[in-house]
């Protein structure tokens, strides 16, 4: 069991090193996040009250789309260079491989995106007092994006230009996370009692997807490498 844990950690560490050295994925995701948010005031006009009212929703949606861009990278590179096949022959179950790769994706993409959100919030006249809550909900909610996204990434491995298909597959799965992420932020800004229940459900969604996502992703990967 100790050996399996060491292998799991080694895999997470390798994916993080690759994310840092290859850099492109995170840069693209952060840039996309910035552009989408920056376009909003241009499209909606300079009504500061309107912007600050919709800021948290816009940031959440832009974050989902930005994270979506980097999802294919969870499995694609390892599939293309044959590393995924070698991993399938290791003693670590494919479910744990999928979990390790999703976790590395969350650390290398989800966390930076969440931390960048308050800075982009300035563009939308986000009430700075609510920024810590916004970041907290994003940190709690983004694991669901990576773990559920790994299912779509695994299913579209063999599809050429599967990015759009991936979006169609996984965006609906993000609806609960989006709803409870926004409702948590709203509850905090209204100082209402529903903050903790909403936050708890958001965390539960992430924990649930961390368990179920890798099982489904592993089944899809095993099918794809036949």
């Amino acid at each position: 069991m100790r050996g399996a844990f060491a292998t799991f950690v080694a895999l997470v560490r390798r994916d993080l090193v690759l994310a840092v050295r290859e850099g492109g994925a995170l840069g693209t995701a952060l840039g996309f996040f910035l552009i989408v948010v920056a376009l909003m005031p241009l499209g909606l006009g300079p009504d500061l009250n309107l912007l600050s009212r919709i800021a948290s929703g816009v940031l959440w949606i832009a974050l989902l789309l930005a994270a979506l861009l980097s999802l294919p990278r969870i499995f694609e590179a390892d599939y293309e260079d044959g590393a995924l096949e070698v991993m399938a022959m290791g003693e670590l179950p494919m479910e744990m491989v999928a979990a390790a790769k999703s976790l590395a994706h969350w650390i290398s993409t989800g966390i930076p995106l969440a931390l960048m959100a308050p800075m982009l919030g300035i563009l939308l006249n986000l009430d700075l007092a609510s920024a810590p809550v916004l970041v907290a909900t994003m940190l709690a909610g983004t694991p669901a994006i990576s773990f559920l996204g790994s299912i779509g990434a695994a299913l579209t491995l063999k599809a050429r230009r599967g990015g759009l298909l991936l979006a169609l597959l996984v965006l609906p799965l993000y609806i609960p996370t989006l709803i409870f992420g926004i409702s948590t932020v709203n509850a905090a800004s209204l100082a209402s009692d529903s903050f903790w229940p909403s936050f708890a459900i958001l965390v539960a969604l992430s924990l649930g997807s961390a368990v179920l996502g890798p099982i489904a992703a592993a089944a899809a990967v095993k099918f794809q490498i036949q």
């Binding site: 080694a10 390798r14 293309e80 260079d81 044959g82 096949e85």
Partner: protein, 209 residues
């Protein structure tokens, strides 16, 4: 130890590729799979590696570790090398040495050094794998065989892009492996000059209408 397949039927899509094949490889022997392109050599090797479930028939390793599957006791060298271009040669091998945990008590660093030496990659150890030539990449891919001790080696066209010297290194590695009671199954149309080798000639399967 013995790797045995019994009345194996392998199907891809609606095509039967291998029909009713039986063979056995004893410990310390190498089996060379030969036959024309498209005859099912890769499919057979991938089935042994556990990627493809046989439509019927069995593949068994008798006398191996009872707790491990055949795939977990095998090395598979396919058409792809499974190495990351932004990691150095040594980092790539160190990762696989850790990932493909082996049963022997040999320290990880020693296993990596042995693998580097076995395919003459010492001088390249600090170079990112992306900068290697095709033949050097192939040697790096093959070096994975030596980072973790596993009894069964499955080699699919292992000599692709290797020069004569590297082919000798591979032959030597295969020879040492069979000498220490390992099993090798290799699909190749180049004679590897292996001793202790049997040949299994696959012939095209005729589909019955």
């Amino acid at each position: 130890m013995k790797l045995a397949a019994e009345s194996l039927v392998l199907v891809r899509g609606s095509r039967t590729i291998v029909d009713g094949l039986s063979f056995a490889v004893q410990a310390g022997r190498a089996l060379a799979l030969t036959g024309p392109n498209g005859v099912g050599k890769t499919t057979l090797i991938r089935a042994i590696a556990g990627f493809l479930t046989p439509a019927s028939g069995t593949i068994r390793l008798d006398g191996g570790e009872p707790d491990l599957t055949l795939a977990e006791q095998s090395h598979y060298i396919g058409h792809l090398n499974g190495m990351k271009s932004s990691l150095t040669v040594e980092e790539n091998l160190a990762f696989w040495a850790l990932y493909l945990r082996d049963a022997t008590a040999v320290a990880l660093q020693d296993r990596v050094s042995d693998a580097l030496a076995g395919f003459e990659l010492d001088v390249l150890r600090d170079i990112p794998a992306g900068y290697l030539s095709a033949g050097q990449k192939r040697r790096l891919g093959l070096a994975r065989l030596l980072v973790a001790r596993r009894p069964v080696w499955l080699l699919d066209e292992p000599t692709v892009s290797l020069d004569a010297r590297s082919t000798e290194l591979l032959a030597a590695a295969v020879d040492r492996h069979t000498e220490s009671n390992g099993i090798v199954i290799a699909a190749t149309h180049l004679a590897l000059g292996l001793s202790r080798t049997d040949e299994l000639q696959l012939s095209p399967h005729r589909a019955v209408a």
